[in-house]
């Protein structure tokens, strides 16, 4: 088994698939996603760790796995940031305050044993909606500043208008404890920042490979290139963490949808060490950029 050092969430023992009720207390719409703040009906904190996810139900539509984008250090509520991609996600982005949803979780293994990160430098690389789980970690580390070394964040989006958490990212730029690199693939006329994919700022960065832990979340194609860059910089596979997306239904290792070779992404992940993924064929197959897959197909014809 991978990640034997991470304990299974033991308290979710008897599963009925019936969610708890939670109330929407605020929503914040940006052009590519909506952030929704929630509280459980009884007001109890969710007690999640950064990188974990919840199964969110909009009754009548269904359920979708969504990363928690808030930090457990700010426990009066929890938040998700949702892109409208299909039936359920669209219904979630349409919610307003006062609406109710169902919540199952928090489920899964979050970003690295937080103890292991103590006093280390932390490098976060986010692509697109991948900023959601990493934002949880950014808040967490900012709230526990003393415990950690340098925090570096690289965040890339397709276009300036799809950048998420724009108010906050403006503050991150100013934050002296955080090195923030923002980049877009396709700039517009007003864009004055960096352009290019996330690996470009990475290339320039000066890392202490033995004292750095990296966490990455983004579209499948990103993983390979970021991993290659980090390995070249001398980071070891054990210190690189990926948060993966798969199709989820149950979120607890039963329904089979999220299986990646012998692993269930929902139960054993969604956060994995790169070293645990390297040995698994289905991880590699997913990382081959789809264009390359198509090219290979063409070749065969």
């Amino acid at each position: 088994m991978a990640a034997p050092d991470r304990q299974q969430a033991a308290d979710i023992s008897i599963i009925s698939y019936m969610p708890e009720r939670a109330k929407v207390i605020s929503t914040h719409r940006e052009s590519s996603a909506t952030t929704i703040e929630l509280v459980l009906e009884d007001g109890r904190p969710l007690h999640h760790s950064p990188g974990q996810f919840v199964q969110v139900s909009v009754f009548g539509y269904g359920e979708a796995p969504l990363s928690l984008c808030s930090s457990p250090t700010r426990s009066e509520s929890f938040s998700i940031c949702v892109q409208p991609k299909g039936n359920v996600s669209r219904a979630i982005t349409a919610l307003s305050s006062g609406d109710w949803v169902g919540i199952r979780g928090p489920y899964g293994q979050g970003f690295f044993p937080i103890d292991q990160m103590r006093r280390k430098n932390v490098l976060l690389v986010a692509g697109g909606i991948g900023i959601a789980p990493l934002r949880s970690l950014i808040h967490f580390i900012c709230d526990k500043q003393k415990d950690y070394g340098r925090l570096q964040v690289v965040y890339g989006a397709k276009t300036p208008s799809t950048l998420l958490f724009q108010k906050e990212t403006a503050q991150w730029v100013e934050n002296p404890h955080l090195d923030f690199y923002l980049t877009v693939d396709q700039p517009d006329k007003t864009w004055q920042g960096r352009t290019g994919v996330v690996t470009e700022p990475l290339r320039e960065m000066d890392l202490a490979p033995d004292n750095t832990i990296a966490a990455i979340c983004g579209p499948p194609v990103m993983f390979r290139f970021v991993a290659m860059e980090l390995l070249q910089k001398g980071l070891s596979g054990e210190n690189i963490y990926f948060s993966l997306e798969r199709r989820f239904k149950c979120g607890i290792g039963k329904c089979g949808h999220c299986q990646l070779n012998d692993l269930y992404v929902c139960r054993d992940g969604p956060v994995f060490r790169y070293s645990d993924l390297q040995t698994r064929k289905e991880a590699g197959e997913a990382w081959v950029p789809e264009k390359a897959q198509d090219a290979a197909k063409e070749e065969k014809r």
Binding site: Y17, R246, G256
Partner: protein, 349 residues
């Protein structure tokens, strides 16, 4: 498994036994399909005569009684806050006529669902069921002796072996013993024990389909890989219809769907059987499909049954029942393909 007791029950006494159970509990067992004579299904028996003890197989395994193809999980309303009501069935029933391979299937699912985090739905239904096993004779698709399920008894309460003019009934639990008290039985003599033994010997002798390697070796072969040509060859024929998964007694992948009530004031969430062979099984929003190639899905089915779950639970998630081969629209036979994999691995050295 050694039974806790053995009794003999005659044919007429057995029918009276069934009627006595039916008077107080639902009995579900194999019966001939009214719409398709010669085919059998597990469903409620109304009379003792409905029981078809000589059935070879059923299209769907008895798993469908414990985790139905479309299972109600809970209902919800659109009130603010929504009202949620968990759906649970509590009524006990007897599941009759389960062949050893299907007992092994239920046992496999006991392990899968109970693995932490344990889920309550399967276990709640299992508690409702008293299971009466029944020995069988193989057809050309059966290969239970290759996966070690030909003499499976767990998790039955009673187990019947047909003998002249009746059954030899093995008692495997207190529940089974209690149930059998409803029957007129006698002690088993040498002759009856010998008849049951003969039945079992004949059964194993008649099995034609066999794996060419032990299970542990099959797991190793799958793990080593290098079998892509065989996967692609098999995938050329496969329609990705999912019949194999639907007919399988150990497949347990599922989907969840919401359905609305006609008055639109609420609805129900169901869990439905799903199939890893279907194109969209591993597809995520945005269209990325993690097993988009047919051969990857074919490979996944074998790896799950004979490698991942085998390593996790120490047993294959295949019971040798042959249903997938019978159900396959293009005659992909699980034994043939497995033997091709074994042969391909031998060629590789």
């Amino acid at each position: 498994m050694t039974p806790r007791g053995i009794q003999i029950i005659s044919g007429p006494d057995f029918n009276m036994f069934l009627e006595a159970i039916m008077a107080v509990q639902t009995v579900i067992g194999p019966r001939e399909r009214g719409d398709q004579p010669g085919y059998y299904l597990f469903s409620r028996l109304q009379r003792a005569e409905d029981f078809a003890p000589g059935y070879k197989t059923t299209t769907l395994p008895p798993k469908k009684i414990l985790a139905s193809p479309k299972e109600k999980l809970f209902s919800f309303t659109f009130d603010k806050p929504p009202r949620l009501r968990l759906h649970v069935d509590a009524s006990p029933f007897v599941l009759l006529g389960v062949h050893p391979c299907d007992l092994a299937g239920i046992d496999a699912l006991d392990h899968a669902y109970a693995h932490p985090p344990a889920e309550m739905r399967w276990s709640a239904n299992r508690k409702r069921a008293t299971i009466i096993g029944l020995d069988c004779q193989p057809d050309a698709y059966c290969f239970c002796s290759s996966v070690g399920t030909d003499a499976a008894r767990i998790p039955c309460d009673l187990f019947l072996t047909p003998i002249d003019h009746g059954y030899l009934a093995e008692i495997h639990s207190d529940r089974g013993r209690q149930l059998l008290q409803k029957a007129n039985t006698s002690n088993a003599g040498e002759e009856e024990l010998a008849a049951a033994k003969r039945w079992r010997q004949q059964k194993v002798e008649r099995i034609r389909a066999k794996f060419d390697a032990p299970l542990e070796r099959i797991a190793d072969i799958l793990e080593t890989g290098g079998l892509t040509p065989t996967w692609k060859e098999t995938a050329k024929r496969c329609y990705s219809c999912g019949s194999c998964n639907t007919a399988c007694p150990t497949c347990f992948c599922f989907d969840m769907i919401d359905e609305l009530d006609p008055d639109l004031r609420g609805g129900t969430r169901y869990r439905t059987w799903d199939s890893c062979q279907l194109l969209d099984f591993a597809m995520v929003a945005g269209g990325h499909n993690f097993r988009g190639e047919r051969w990857q899905r074919v490979r996944h089915r074998w790896q799950r049954k004979f490698l991942y779950l085998f390593r996790q639970f120490g047993r294959p998630y295949c019971t040798g029942c042959g249903r997938c081969s019978r159900a396959c629209t293009v005659d992909i036979n699980i034994v043939d393909v497995t033997n091709q994999l074994i042969a391909a691995a031998k060629m590789e050295g």
